[in-house]
């Protein structure tokens, strides 16, 4: 496993870096989708996997970032790059505000409330609240990517934009895992009462996790809006949140697991297009089978450098 990580990541990044030059237009688009959804799944992982909060509304923050970019670009004429800070900040602030009153709820209640947030959000978009969301059709005709006066309208440019966002996310998550905050989140996930009794302010860390996760998902939303130069409510329905939720848990809340999960959920269907109608039926069976065979996920995450002899039956105790 160690060896695989040592060599696996550099090979993976090298392949991903040259990938767009090997693919035609259609597969470039699939590769961009893969990168974007990986970022969203990783942001969900901070909340669900690392912190152990049952969040089933991640598409809300993803959509909020996408709509922030779309509205600022379409209504106010900001360039795509200029919308990035707000596309991160607005979801992050909303993440904190929404999480504030609900993080004390027990697991399943939290799950339903986050589903609720997602559904309210989509309904707000569809009913065109404030007259800026474009109703059920959404907003289309966004500008293409441009930076320092260069017009980067090719798909390859969007690919690298998405790739940079993914690298940033991975870097942030690695630093988070090694930091005081990351440790606090881990203890909080393992045993909230114990975490509180050793002086961890669980409430603050939970809200913080929601906020970070929301901000990253918002950034992914910007890339998503750029790729299609459009946004519409159905891309952020709560069924998407269900997919992200499942990907994190099936993957086992580790980076290789999540990459695999996103690949299976979003890339494989493109390869086997003739089975399109069977897609979700097969996914359903695969989800049940994966959980029965590997209840902790395909590639379970490990935390920190705990010596093997101290671990009894895996590092995670439920």
């Amino acid at each position: 496993m160690k060896e695989m990580q040592k060599f696996g990541y550099p090979i993976f990044f090298a392949v991903m870096a040259v990938l767009p030059h090997l693919l035609d237009d259609r597969w470039q688009a699939v590769a961009i989708t893969f990168l974007i959804f990986t970022v969203v799944a990783l942001s969900q992982d901070i909340i669900l996997g690392k912190c152990g909060m049952f969040n089933m509304g991640q598409a809300l923050f993803f959509g909020m970032g996408a709509y922030t970019t779309a509205i600022l670009n379409n209504e106010f004429g900001w360039s795509i790059i200029a919308t990035i800070p707000l596309a991160i900040l607005i979801p992050a602030i909303f993440g904190a505000l929404l999480a504030g009153p609900i993080v004390h709820l027990r697991g399943d209640y939290l799950l339903v409330v986050t589903i609720g947030f997602n559904i309210v959000f989509v309904q707000v978009l569809q009913n065109n609240l404030g007259g800026v969301t474009g109703g059920p059709n959404g907003i289309f005709g966004l500008d293409s990517l441009s930076f320092l006066g260069f017009d980067l309208m090719s798909q390859v440019a969007v690919y690298y934009f998405a790739f940079i966002v993914l690298l940033l996310t991975l870097w942030l998550m690695r630093n988070l895992a090694g930091s005081k905050t990351g440790r606090a989140m881990h203890y909080l996930r393992e045993d909230q009462l114990a975490a509180e009794s050793i002086g961890i302010n669980t409430r603050i860390y939970k809200i913080f996790a929601f906020s970070i996760g929301a901000g990253i998902a918002g950034l992914a939303g910007t890339v998503f809006a750029t790729q299609y130069s459009a946004v519409s409510p159905e891309a952020f329905e709560f069924i998407q949140s269900v997919l992200f939720f499942s990907i994190v848990l099936i993957g086992g809340s580790s980076v290789p697991g999540i990459l695999l999960g996103v690949f299976v959920m979003f890339v494989l269907p493109e390869i086997f297009r003739e089975f399109a109608t069977w897609r979700y039926l097969i996914f359903g069976f695969a989800m049940i089978a994966a959980m029965i065979l590997r209840p902790r996920g395909i590639v379970p995450a490990t935390f920190g450098k705990i010596p093997k002899f101290l671990i009894k039956g895996g590092s995670h105790v439920e």
Binding site: F54, P101, I102, H104, L105, R106, G107, D108, Y109, L111, V112, V113, I115, G116, F117, I119, V120, Q123, V124, Q126, N127, L193, I239, V242, F245, S246, L249, I250, T277, W278, R279, Y280, L281, F283, G284, F285, A286, M287, I288, A290, M291, I292, P295, R296, H316, E318
Partner: protein
């Protein structure tokens, strides 16, 4: 005043359907601490099974006996599906982390939903007119025979379930299993059979709920399970999940709330208001209206 009474009647009708479906969620949650996400899709499947029994087995007859047979057969079918579901998707995960069972439930939901789509097609189907269209007009308030039957039958089923759970020995076993499975096992209760029984009861009640949805709304689609399932689940949470009278109360309250929002405010915002109500109630009373405050175990 007319709108008020009309929406009261409509609210009680949809509320009793929510309550029937909510009972399935709450009973499974009570014993297994698991949100059975597939329950809503089983409700949808029941409407399609009822449709097929009507056209294939009953030869499109809508006599009283035929209608009763359709209800019994659909409930029996769904009870079988419920048992299979529990055996295949939930039993192997009883000792696993709780989130694994949630993912398995989501998987089962996808399987049933898309199974319906592959068997009956992706388009909306029209549910047969099993009950004659009879309407009574009480000075501007129109009540249909279907509404009366739905309300009456739901009440009968709910009272029967309540008496069964509260007054019989098997009911006592169900209550014991939901309080503490291990202790129940030590007292000689076969918890596996209790769980199977709960899936039978919950799925058959859900099946009746699905047929009611077909009768009342007429149009049935393969993916309607999520929508009704979610409402029913909210009803279960409102009442306090795991609590059987709570699910009945929650269903009725949610039905009334939804009907009044649709009558007085707007139907395009009904979902949003419902969830805002849920969130507010959970902030004030995190365990629902009738739910008991359980101290966290250390």
């Amino acid at each position: 005043m007319d709108i008020f009474l009309q929406q009261l009647a409509n609210g009680l009708t949809i509320g009793s359907m929510f309550a029937l479906v909510a009972l399935g969620y709450t009973m499974v949650y009570g014993v297994m601490r698991l949100i059975n996400f597939a329950h809503g899709d089983m409700v949808a499947a029941s409407a399609f099974v009822g449709l097929t029994i009507y056209t294939q087995v009953m030869g499109q007859a809508a006599t009283l006996i035929a209608v009763i047979t359709i209800f019994l057969l659909s409930a029996a079918c769904m009870a079988c599906v419920g048992i299979i579901l529990e055996r295949v998707a939930y039993r192997p995960l009883r000792e696993a982390p709780r989130l694994s069972a949630v993912v398995s439930a989501l998987g089962a939901s996808l399987v049933i939903q898309n199974g319906i789509m592959l068997i009956w097609g992706p388009r909306m189907r029209i549910f047969p007119e099993l009950i004659p269209q009879v309407y009574w007009d009480f000075g501007g308030v129109v009540i249909s025979l279907i509404q009366v039957i739905i309300l009456a039958l739901s009440l009968v089923l709910m009272v029967a379930l309540y008496l069964f759970v509260e007054k019989t020995r098997i009911g006592a076993a169900i209550r014991a299993s939901s309080i503490d499975q291990d202790a129940a096992r030590l007292m000689g209760i076969n918890v596996n059979s209790i769980i199977a029984l709960i899936f039978i009861i919950g799925s058959s009640l859900g099946a009746v709920g699905g047929l009611f949805i077909g009768l009342y709304y007429r149009g049935i689609t393969f993916n309607m399970g999520w929508q009704y399932g979610l409402y029913a689940f909210i009803a279960a949470i409102l009442g306090g999940i795991g609590n059987i009278p709570g699910a009945m109360l929650g269903g009725m309250l949610l039905g009334l709330f939804k009907a009044f929002i649709e009558g007085y405010v707007s139907s395009t915002w009904a979902d949003a208001f419902t969830f805002i109500l849920l969130i507010l109630i959970l902030i004030v009373r995190p365990t629902g209206i009738l739910g008991e405050r359980v101290a966290e175990k250390v």
